[in-house]
């Protein structure tokens, strides 16, 4: 079996953390990741940029509608994901618009936060 672990946390709480606290969490993440890599359980992981950088793509009547923000409707639930490479947001949203569910649901496009 494979499982996707979805991580939820309060962005506003995170921004309140001081540098030392943030460094501690990051090192815990590092340790955790190493742990599951060594255990052979790791498939992939990325940190996402904050929701303010999100855009949502829907296709209705053949027309692509792009909006600011992560506003999935409350009756919509997370059903899957793709990790893609695109040169900019226009290319990313064009690919998102081709996801079949974009025609009846919505596809949130959120940039990956590069690890430095």
């Amino acid at each position: 079996m494979q499982y996707l672990l979805l991580i939820y946390a309060s962005e506003s709480e995170e921004t309140k953390m001081n540098e030392a606290a943030m460094a501690k969490v990051l090192s815990e993440y590092h340790e955790f990741t190493q742990g599951i890599v060594q255990g052979g359980q790791f498939k992939g992981a990325e940190r996402l940029r904050p929701v303010a950088s999100a855009s949502t793509v829907r296709v209705r009547n053949g027309k692509t509608v792009i909006t600011d923000g992560p506003f999935a409707e409350t009756r919509e639930q997370l059903g899957g994901y793709y990790l893609i490479e695109a040169k900019n947001l226009d290319e990313a949203t064009a690919i998102a618009a081709r996801v079949p569910s974009a025609r009846f649901g919505s596809v949130e496009v959120r940039p990956i936060w590069p690890i430095t």
């Binding site: 940029r49 904050p50 950088s53 600011d68 900019n88 947001l89 226009d90 430095t116």
Partner: protein
């Protein structure tokens, strides 16, 4: 303190070139904020050097060149002192260093830069408030304070909104590019929607800080002209520009000195800006004659054109206005368009037929500007001699109206009932 003529001349160059210099620096540096800082440094350097050395022959190229070099210096400094995001900074450095400033000297390239920037500012992944604020700040060169005043929010709130918008552009990877051909029409429509919002924000409200609002109309028209110059022969752009010119030409006649609304039929035509009307009329003709689908802006402009031509022709061409509203109802159906159509029908077919249309619209519901619907109903009922129903409708309109000048207009109508003899019309 009186600035020296040399400083005044330098500031004059800044005013003219600020938008273009920023647009080019953004393309070269790939970062909004870095470009804004670079422009500021270039202007500071110019203020220091130009008054004694003279203004260079190509001041714009000078400012871009200096700004770009200052930015490169800054990126290097940052890379040295806190190399947190080395990849990001060196990428910007490569981008800035790769392009020689010589190839931006022609006007065509500068035009392209501003066009790119308009599409970035009006990208659909930004919310419309952010689009409008960014456009006024970056393209029109309004100060943060001026943008804040225009939208009746505090300067801090507006500064925050701009910072968030620029962060979204950077983090989400919104490109600094003219959209590819398959996206161009749609993105032009998006940019025009933002420009039209700037215009209506300035035009629709007739109370409050009147001068600032006039500024907004002028900025919207400037943006329309810029888009028309950069993307010529686009009926949607011509149509919107014509629509704004024609409406704006009647601005002085629309409101009395004390801020009361003057309806179109009661306006003093000598207050209309006739040269601007003539410019609008030419643009409408071009927009309507273009091949391809008709732009709703062009249809609205055509209606405004018929109203503008009426004084010179001695009568308003109501049958044609009815026809144009029917086209608009197909292209861009909305309750407000239907309501305006009904008003035009009352002029061709009389109030009874128009009242049927208004009542059917009311029965379907969903009209936001309920006071407009009630006011139109009141007028039609009055025309039919149904005095009590008309009075009730005016009162309903007054209860629903929010803007002071509109409320005063409705109150005047109600007061007239007491002074008018009861005659069937």
């Amino acid at each position: 303190m009186i600035a020296s003529p040399a400083v005044v001349a330098v500031e004059d160059v800044f005013r003219r070139e600020a938008g273009r210099v920023l647009a080019t620096l953004i393309r070269l540096l790939g970062d909004f904020e870095l470009a804004e800082e670079a422009r500021q440094e270039a202007f500071a350097a110019a203020l220091e050097q130009w008054p004694s050395n003279g203004i260079p022959s190509n001041p714009r190229a000078w400012l871009v060149d200096v700004g770009r070099n200052k930015a490169i210096d800054q990126i290097r400094r940052q890379a040295l002192f806190r190399s947190k995001y080395p990849d990001l900074e060196f990428a910007a450095l490569d981008q800035a260093a790769a392009v020689s400033p010589d190839d931006q000297e022609d006007d065509a390239a500068f035009g392209d830069d501003r066009l790119r920037l308009i599409f970035t500012c009006c990208h659909p992944a930004l919310n419309i408030e952010a689009q409008v604020a960014l456009t006024l700040r970056a393209i029109c060169g309004l100060s943060v304070e001026a943008v804040a005043r225009a939208f009746l929010v505090g300067e801090d709130t507006m500064a925050q909104r701009l910072v968030r918008a620029k962060k979204k552009i950077r983090d989400a990877g919104i490109p600094y590019e003219t959209p590819p051909p398959q996206l161009l029409d749609e993105r032009i429509a998006g940019a025009l929607a933002a420009v039209y919002l700037v215009f209506t924000e300035g035009y629709a409200v007739t109370s409050g800080a009147a001068l600032i609002r006039e500024d907004l109309c002028s900025e919207a028209i400037r943006l329309g002209r810029l888009l028309d110059a950069l993307l010529p022969d686009r009926p949607a752009i011509q149509g919107l520009l014509a629509l704004m010119l024609l409406h704006d030409a009647r601005r002085k006649a629309r409101v009395t000195a004390v801020g009361d609304v003057v309806l179109l039929e009661d306006q003093d035509h000598s207050l209309w800006n006739w040269p601007q009307i003539d410019e609008g009329l030419i643009l409408v003709e071009r927009a309507l004659r273009a091949r391809g689908p008709v732009s709703p802006y062009a249809v609205q402009a055509a209606i405004a054109a018929l109203h503008a031509r009426a004084p010179r022709e001695g009568a308003t061409d109501w049958p044609q206005i009815v026809g144009l509203y029917q086209v608009l109802m197909r292209l861009q159906p909305s309750p407000v368009v239907e309501l305006n159509h009904a008003v035009a029908v009352s002029m061709t077919d009389g109030p009874a037929r128009a009242l049927d249309l208004v009542d059917s619209l009311a029965a379907r519901g969903g009209i936001d500007d309920y006071h407009l619907l009630a006011a139109v109903r009141a007028r039609l009922l009055q025309g039919l001699g149904r005095r009590d129903e008309a009075l009730a409708a005016y009162r309903a309109a007054l209860a629903a109206a929010k803007l002071e000048p509109e409320r005063r207009l409705l109150a005047r109508r109600i007061a007239e009932f007491d002074s008018l003899p009861q005659l069937p019309i």
